[in-house]
Symmetry: C2
Subunit: 190 residues, 2 copies
């Protein structure tokens, strides 16, 4: 007996559609601005390519969640979008929805480390150090955007700072485990 066909209806939005909706709600009114804002703010836990954004804007406008108007700068074409009432409702509904909240991690560093017992001790130690340094670098990148999140928090937008703190804690935890393990390996080698 055939299974029920994939339930993704035509009106259902992808996570990326919700990112577009959310970024417009924060004032990023053009496709270009959405991409910039994503890179400055949520890039460390969500990415979206330009090639997704423009079709998404078209879809969202078609289903009435956003409204676009031409707003050229000089003779350079440009289109500004704003949420409709339905769009704001859809965004809120998505955040309130009582469904499972996906979390996907794909970390080549952890993958390599997992298999590292096959490696010569020096190579394993070098890999561990490379993974530590990578995390340390990401931590520096997050610290660089912290002032902006602090400013937003002062202005009443608290949650970007929350996610940033989460990212920093998360990354710091990876650095810490790398360091404590490196010490243990060094102690074990003696």
């Amino acid at each position: 007996m055939p299974q029920i066909p994939p339930p993704r209806a035509d009106t259902e939005l992808t996570p990326s559609d919700h990112v577009v909706l959310g970024m417009i709600s924060l004032g990023a009114s053009t496709g270009y601005a959405i991409k910039q804002t994503v890179e400055r703010s949520i890039r460390f836990f969500w990415t979206i390519s330009q090639a997704q954004i423009y079709p998404s804007l078209q879809r969202l406008e078609q289903v009435g969640l956003i409204r676009g108007r031409d707003a050229p700068r000089g003779r350079r074409p440009r289109r500004e979008f704003a949420l409709t009432r339905a769009g704001r409702a859809a965004l809120v509904e998505w955040m309130r929805a009582d469904e499972e909240i996906p979390f996907e991690l794909r970390d080549t560093g952890m993958l390599k480390l997992f298999f590292a017992d096959t490696l010569a001790p020096d190579d394993a130690a070098a890999l561990l150090e490379r993974v530590r340094e990578r995390s340390a670098g990401r931590l520096r990148a997050l610290r660089a955007i912290e002032p902006e999140a602090q400013r937003a928090a002062q202005g009443g937008n608290l949650h970007p700072l929350l996610t940033l703190e989460m990212g920093m804690s998360f990354t710091q935890a990876m650095v810490d485990v790398c360091e404590s393990f490196a010490e243990r390996l060094a102690a074990g080698a003696r």
Copy 2:
């Protein structure tokens, strides 16, 4: 001037191919066993579907990195694989390679939280609690596999325990940030 064309050569392996290679090196000799092992050990930072595994095994055998032999159980067909010398070298080379180590996180929870300033305070608090509970649940799942990693470490396979500790630490970090933020929000509401 045209860009350099995509450098992925025919002989280059995908990350998933390396997972297959690595799992075989740890003694998972059939496609089925590889899938089981992935689910028990690295699922929280890497997934691979059955539909990827069997074609990958075929590719890896074609390029001489693994060798398969029929090993049926009764009349149920079954194929066992082992690394060739070239296969072991390729695995080690991949871990030693001095290239950037990709890290990809896609967290719908952080995404929703990022936009949560639009939400009514109660709804934002409820979302934060749902994200906290999700992380707490993942932490329990990781603790459940800890004994197995401990046993592997006793047997000289230290690195599975390293990656597990990393996972537990960063998951705990997310729980902690959720809790501290919930307190701050509650204090701010008073």
